[in-house]
């Protein structure tokens, strides 16, 4: 059975347009699912809904988010927060704003273990050292005493990854974890996440708009457009025989090293038009119940 199962999740801006249109997807234990789509397709919104951190301007109108078989949306806020905290974690997009500038690194990793999960201080400190070593930070003791501004972006992203794995979560939502980084650092960070995921057997919901990343890290993927899941398949199937025309267009639009003269290929207008029509027909059907 899947660890995370989202069923017909619809989310809309309060008194505004829909942001997610009956999204369904599953993430089995230890599995990596990529969420791809252009900006505004609703990729991050899915991750935020799962973690219970949707902005207040947004509301869930229907659907279920089953975490280990329990629908989070039916629980009290306190109880759902407790369950999310005990089994999920977030690797945020921007390492520059994801660490609190006022606190040293050490407490930022350990305080949550101690205050919320009831670890002893000594166990949490030892865990932090091990984790930083695992993400290949050379002088963990010194880094734990540092403030975020004293460290580079890549270093901070490593710390965030370590921090996400600290409590051995069952599921991690990685919200474009390499977008804000240098291309050279991106590759290292990606390899790091993949390695950590494999070693710890953590399920991963990987939000990205980079198909190259998907091919390296993920086993399954969902293609989104305007909050609608267009394709849900395994990565192998997707790259060899995409089922949806939009998926095929996305693949064709990816720049290739083998043919540098081809230039950038946009998704053809005809494909976009067809996808928009699909979204409109969905909305019409939804309006008629």
């Amino acid at each position: 059975m899947s660890f995370l199962s989202i069923r017909n999740l619809s989310v809309r801006l309060k008194n505004g347009p829909p942001l997610l249109r009956r999204v369904s997807l599953d993430v089995a234990a230890g599995e990596v699912r990529g969420l791809v789509g252009e900006s505004g397709a609703g990729k991050s919104m899915i991750g935020k809904a799962v973690l219970g951190i949707l902005p207040p301007s947004v509301q869930i109108t229907e659907g279920e988010i089953l975490l280990d078989g329990t629908d989070l949306l039916r629980l009290s806020p306190r109880e759902s927060r407790r369950r999310i905290g005990a089994s999920c974690a977030l690797i945020p997009q921007d390492p520059l704003t994801a660490l609190n500038p006022s606190h040293r690194i050490g407490p930022q990793i350990t305080n949550r273990l101690v205050d919320i999960l009831g670890w002893t201080r000594a166990a949490a400190d030892a865990r932090a050292i091990d984790l930083l070593a695992e993400v290949q930070i050379s002088d963990p003791a010194r880094v734990l005493r540092s403030y975020p501004h004293e460290l580079s972006g890549g270093m901070r992203q490593r710390i965030l990854i370590a921090s996400a794995f600290a409590a051995e979560p069952k599921l991690i939502v990685a919200d474009e974890p390499t977008t804000a980084l240098d291309v050279t650092v991106q590759k290292q960070i990606l390899r790091l996440i993949a390695g950590m995921q494999a070693r710890h057997g953590t399920a991963l919901l990987f939000v990205t708009h980079d198909l190259g990343v998907v091919s390296k890290v993920c086993q399954k993927l969902s293609v989104l457009y305007s909050g609608l899941v267009l394709e849900d398949s395994t990565v192998t199937d997707f790259f060899t025989a995409p089922r949806h025309a939009y998926s095929a267009a996305l693949l064709a639009a990816t720049p290739k090293y083998t043919d540098p003269d081809a230039g950038l290929q946009p998704v053809p207008d005809a494909v976009i038009g067809a996808v928009r029509a699909e979204v409109d027909s969905f909305d019409r059907k939804a309006a008629h119940g």
Partner: protein, 288 residues
């Protein structure tokens, strides 16, 4: 080479900031001592009048009387002693009014900026309505109703100035609230109030410290203004504002009665604002 130069520049800035901090702390420290020890260090009773000793000049001017270092006013009261006793009222108002204003304003601002929703709605509307009142008239009206006393002055300052804290802290808390570290804390299971106190507050604190010290300076000025229009404390206890108000009448015959309290007021307000800037640099981990 470039690195070494950059480092030097930084340490110079830090040393200057340090000097500013220490000078203002020194002045305020002396003021506190003067206020606490006034009965023992004041050379004369600040209230005792002696018309034969009226309008004595300060010690370096011809005609000065030994023992009256900063001269006397037209009723023959010792200016230095009155300054020392006046520091009591000034500091009491600064510290009490400043910190109560800060506590109320910053709390409301933090709640509005972080919790948003209806809490923000209520507090923001309250701020808007509040700021539509003209502050000077409002304070004079308040004191007229409450009756002139130290407590009324403090209440007047708190009631008028809490919006200053609330507005700024709300804006800062709103910015901090959108940061990813707040989302991470929420995912980890921190409650809303816990997140507010542990994640947001430390990042707003440097701003609060600056506002607090500024407010203390403002409180000193407000007290002086209210004394000037005779709405300060009702007793005969000397206040700097009262001294300025009395000195104004005899400015041509005895400038010192006006000038010394003015200098004390000026230095104190300056010291408060410089203390705030200096402390901010210490509090902020990025600037530290």
């Amino acid at each position: 080479m470039l690195d070494a130069k950059g480092l030097d520049g930084r340490s110079l800035v830090r040393r200057r900031a340090g000097l500013r901090l220490w000078l203002s702390a020194l002045w305020l420290g002396m003021l506190c001592l003067a206020a606490l020890l006034a009965p023992w260090v004041a050379p004369h009773d600040p209230l005792s009048q002696d018309l034969f000793l009226g309008r004595l000049p300060p010690f370096w001017v011809a005609g000065a009387e030994p023992g009256y270092w900063l001269g006397t006013d037209s009723l023959g009261r010792d200016v230095l002693s009155r300054l020392l006793y006046g520091a009591r009222v000034a500091l009491l108002v600064a510290v009490l009014a400043g910190s109560i204003t800060c506590l109320i304003g910053a709390t409301l601002g933090l709640l509005a900026g972080f919790l948003r929703g209806w809490v923000d709605m209520v507090i923001s509307r309250l701020i808007d309505i509040w700021m539509a009142f003209p502050p000077v008239l409002f304070s004079i009206l308040l004191i007229a109703v409450l009756g002139p006393s130290l407590t009324s002055i403090i209440i007047a300052i708190v009631v008028i100035d809490w919006t200053r804290f609330a507005r700024v802290v709300r804006a800062e808390a709103m910015v901090q609230g959108t940061m990813d570290y707040v989302a991470s804390a929420r995912v980890a299971g921190r409650g809303r109030i816990g997140t507010m106190l542990r994640e947001i507050l430390p990042n707003v604190l440097p701003t609060i410290v600056v506002l607090l010290t500024l407010e203390m300076g403002i409180a000193v000025i407000v007290e002086a203004i209210l004394s000037f229009v005779n709405l300060s404390i009702a007793t005969d206890d000397p206040t700097w504002g009262g001294m300025i108000s009395e000195g104004r009448i005899s400015i041509h015959q005895a400038w010192w009665v006006l000038v010394f309290p003015l200098i004390a007021l000026f230095l104190t307000v300056l010291a408060f604002s410089q203390l705030g800037e200096g402390l901010k640099d210490r509090f902020d981990p990025v600037l530290r």
